[in-house]
Symmetry: none
Subunit: 258 residues, 2 copies
Amino acid sequence: MITPPSPPIVILDRPQMAENIGAVARVMANFGLDQLRLVAPRDGWPQERAWATASGADWVLEGVRVFDTVADAIADLNTVFATTARPRETRQPVRTPREATRVLYDDRASGLQIGLLFGAERAGLETTDIALCQGIVTIPIDPRHQSLNLAQAVAINAYEWRTLVLDAPPPGFREGEPPAPGELQLGMYEHLEKELDAAGFFHPPEKFRSMSQNLRVMLGRAAFTAQEVATFRGVITALSKGRGRVLERLAKEKAAKG
Amino acid sequence: MITPPSPPIVILDRPQMAENIGAVARVMANFGLDQLRLVAPRDGWPQERAWATASGADWVLEGVRVFDTVADAIADLNTVFATTARPRETRQPVRTPREATRVLYDDRASGLQIGLLFGAERAGLETTDIALCQGIVTIPIDPRHQSLNLAQAVAINAYEWRTLVLDAPPPGFREGEPPAPGELQLGMYEHLEKELDAAGFFHPPEKFRSMSQNLRVMLGRAAFTAQEVATFRGVITALSKGRGRVLERLAKEKAAKG
């Protein structure tokens, strides 16, 4: 098992609402990120309301580091991407969250320190701060509705990180029970066909072949496990014998009454 | 320029907070989704507080349709994935948001109606409702902090949809007939359960729920077409009624001999 590179540090520039800081911490924890830095939070730090919305991701909030400027907050980082709408003109590389995550991942694996910078709720990032970064990440927002919530922006990037990390080690084993071996499946088909035949289902008789074929194909797609084959055979038996049993019981009841 | 397939319908089961419904609408609009259905919203509908958090995504809220049950809400949809943590044990296919999006995209491109089902804030989804879906989507959450905000869960899936649409891959066309709509599938399940119940299959009776659930899941995997649903209902009828018919015939033959 390879240890995946540690996740990017999240930097929030001048966040306004403590509730949003808590929501960011929550979603970082959801996707395995844990280092959060705040640049000049409007209402100071710590703020109780952040804990209320963090939904238990307290360790992220307790580890928060506060800085005066973006420059200070990213001083020890090698690769920082600024998350922002695609600028009208820029000389910096603009990447999707997926592309950016890949670059960050490789940089971190090479021993570099990595981070993701997010702007304030309404104001966004200053171009001077964007210029301090090594590139831009633009979330593919529909231009008809661009107002993306801060925690959502963090969520998308954090999700991409975790997805990449989980993809990294190729999982080599099948989960859950395998489909039943062919022998058991065939036994189930034959059981079904025998009972259907007894019930007069296959008419005219020359259609037996194509009808039974269709049944096998449609049931086969479900890839029953051995246990499920047994369950389905129970269904066949119940349906075909049960009716008789019910008739018997009714007859007995009638006899008892009469 | 190829017109991309229209996006999935989002279904929220028993949402509690109107603020969350608004946040869901907002993030749907961010990523180009616009059809929202609510199943039995706790505080009724419409709710002013939803508009406050939708941040201008009013057209999503104004188009909301309300239903009593999940079954009703997905009755006209062919492929619906339930977004939930990976169940401890399931026989339904479990996909990442990325994998699920690809399937939904191809299905929609083939003319099917597609949807994504999300559970209530705390309670999540009932297993009986999950069983009505064609598969499960599990967001790759860190097991140490699983509490994912509802709007975030929608955001991740909506983001994957938009990312795929922007990549504009040639849709992988689905071959053959589409799966039957939910309504037809449900009718088939209920028919099977009624006949099994009459045959005394569900014993002890308190096992009805789990036993019928298992049957729905294992048959659901086969994704029967409308034609196949009709065929399978014919199988159920033949097995349950046929036995009676055979007994009758035997009785007549005996009488004729005697």
